[in-house]
Amino acid sequence: EAGVAQSPRYKIIEKRQSVAFWCNPISGHATLYWYQQILGQGPKLLIQFQNNGVVDDSQLPKDRFSAERLKGVDSTLKIQPAKLEDSAVYLCASSGRITSYEQYFGPGTRLTVT
């Protein structure tokens, strides 16, 4: 079974530029999560999708971050414009059911904003 795929793996941009990350969850997984993991910290949930609907985006900085999952499969997270403090690893995870205890994580995208 293929795992969660993310791209790109690394991205370096200047502040005020925009960037987009892509995630393809495990086939058949209805729930998709985006996390931000700042160096030295644990992952922080940004947004949770159930199919193509948003379940929780309470910690998403909506003035600069946006995410979509139009067909209920893959998802894109965008930052526009980026700030220095957005430097982090962005992790995507998926689970089979919204009630599932187990989330499967992708390898992440390491973003550096200079």
Partner: protein, 111 residues
Amino acid sequence: TQLLKQSPQFLSIQEGENLTVYCNSSSVFSSLQWYRQEPGEGPVLLVTVVTGGEVKKLKRLTFQFGDARKDSSLHITAAQPGDTGLYLCAGLIDSSYKLIFGSGTRLLVRP
């Protein structure tokens, strides 16, 4: 705000030693998970504990959930270099099925 505090933050030990990592909160969680994350990879689930007082073993790793479901510990016996990594605990909020992660314990096992 539900916070999970992990201690210690860093641990460097010699191969063969034992260690314990702690995860504490003032909040009650319906369940608690432990993950290990290696550099350049996403976290991988090790175990889920659900019942207060529950103990689970995974080879040399022993996980315990506190009786009040506010804290947990991870004990590693005879650590090996392959155990090196970032250990994260995460509490599950039942109402939203959202995970709250601790800040992690970075373990280095020296050969």
